[in-house]
Symmetry: C3
Subunit: 181 residues, 3 copies
Amino acid sequence: MENLAEQVELLKTQMEALTNKTPEEKLSMIVFSGDLDKLLAAFVVATGAVAMGMDVVMFFTFWGISALRDKAKDAGGKDMMGKMFGAMLPKGTGGVKLSKMNMGGMGTAMMKMLMKKKNVASLEEFLKMAEELGVRIFVCEMSMDLMGFKREEMIDYQGLEFCGVAKFLEEARNSKVQLFI
Amino acid sequence: MENLAEQVELLKTQMEALTNKTPEEKLSMIVFSGDLDKLLAAFVVATGAVAMGMDVVMFFTFWGISALRDKAKDAGGKDMMGKMFGAMLPKGTGGVKLSKMNMGGMGTAMMKMLMKKKNVASLEEFLKMAEELGVRIFVCEMSMDLMGFKREEMIDYQGLEFCGVAKFLEEARNSKVQLFI
Amino acid sequence: MENLAEQVELLKTQMEALTNKTPEEKLSMIVFSGDLDKLLAAFVVATGAVAMGMDVVMFFTFWGISALRDKAKDAGGKDMMGKMFGAMLPKGTGGVKLSKMNMGGMGTAMMKMLMKKKNVASLEEFLKMAEELGVRIFVCEMSMDLMGFKREEMIDYQGLEFCGVAKFLEEARNSKVQLFI
């Protein structure tokens, strides 16, 4: 009897440990790409996952960050490199291009027309939807620093956080699904 | 004693809940790319996973879908945009190109020669192998709609399904491994 | 009482099975890309994960392998195709380029300058850091064979292994996080 009680105690400890190790209903995504098609895929997956009851975190890094710049905002205090990157990279969702068949912008324009015609939300609309659905957006500070992006030129987005890879990995390792896009 | 019985009952409930939350021996893949090299990687991983006893689902979306078009099939009822996409994108595994060093087709031709010489299966053969091994293929309906692809121009493949991202995520969140290629 | 003992026995068996099925604190990555920006992302994630106590495996395949070639080493016995690939692909971390905005090398040079200025480690330094931190590197044998790369032209790296996709999947399916970069 005593022995049985001990065994049950041990099982309870193991159960707790295992519960802590078991991933949650969460999807963690690294959004590295700044291409229209890949960003579209990222948002379709993200909003779809929320619709299924999952918690979603998107960690924007490198080229992906361009899509989060606010067209209407400007940031001062940039050095020459920062100014160059700022000028060459797309500013916000409106400026991103297809990864293939861009054809000097024609392919991208065609895709945008198609998206409208087929009732697929635009990136702009997807961002709004994501915000309403509570998708969390993390922005990689190291990438921002590299490209000379400033916090004050990013879009307004409920709960947007500037952080490092550690904070993302903390989420990812407790997530059922992880993707690098 | 009664107390012990209650504790065991609780443990049983927790065990069942945890078992349901624990991912299965399954690999879920989003095949976004339509490049020869990435498709090759996708099929090597997919068939390798089956060989290790895993269940495999490949969700083809965007450029990836081109590789599933049947060269010998045509679909009517396309609008102008659909016809343009249809003409510009590769039709089936035979038409896909390297993501790098395509060099006007020379690099791709070289890679195909090398694959033959080194006894690496062609994409065509990998598709057949995947079918025989029971790899499930999902085709993204939203992407098909965007690009004007029709169901009747897709390859014959045992169990191929047309579906949305929700159906894929249902598999992905119960999978041990997920990849975006 | 007997019944209770049986139930506890059953729970113990289930607990053991579930523990074996639960993924470990491990990150498994397929490094397919040979681009400076993506390799940088891969190493930032890899070293960050180790810093958080995770075990990390990087499986280099296809273009990614170029970055592991040692600039100072040469390999004989290559056929014509192998010589061509060898000459056209970057040799080591020093030769890799940005996936976007390379602009004939100017963009890549700019990025490297920025990395230095902002105190972001170079790929060379990241490789060293990864080695010191115990990040395991697997090199895909099939890809090496395809591209005509030889073992003797790869960098010296503690514990580097040449293997197939099965060995990688063995790690991936017991990992909390998997990424395809």
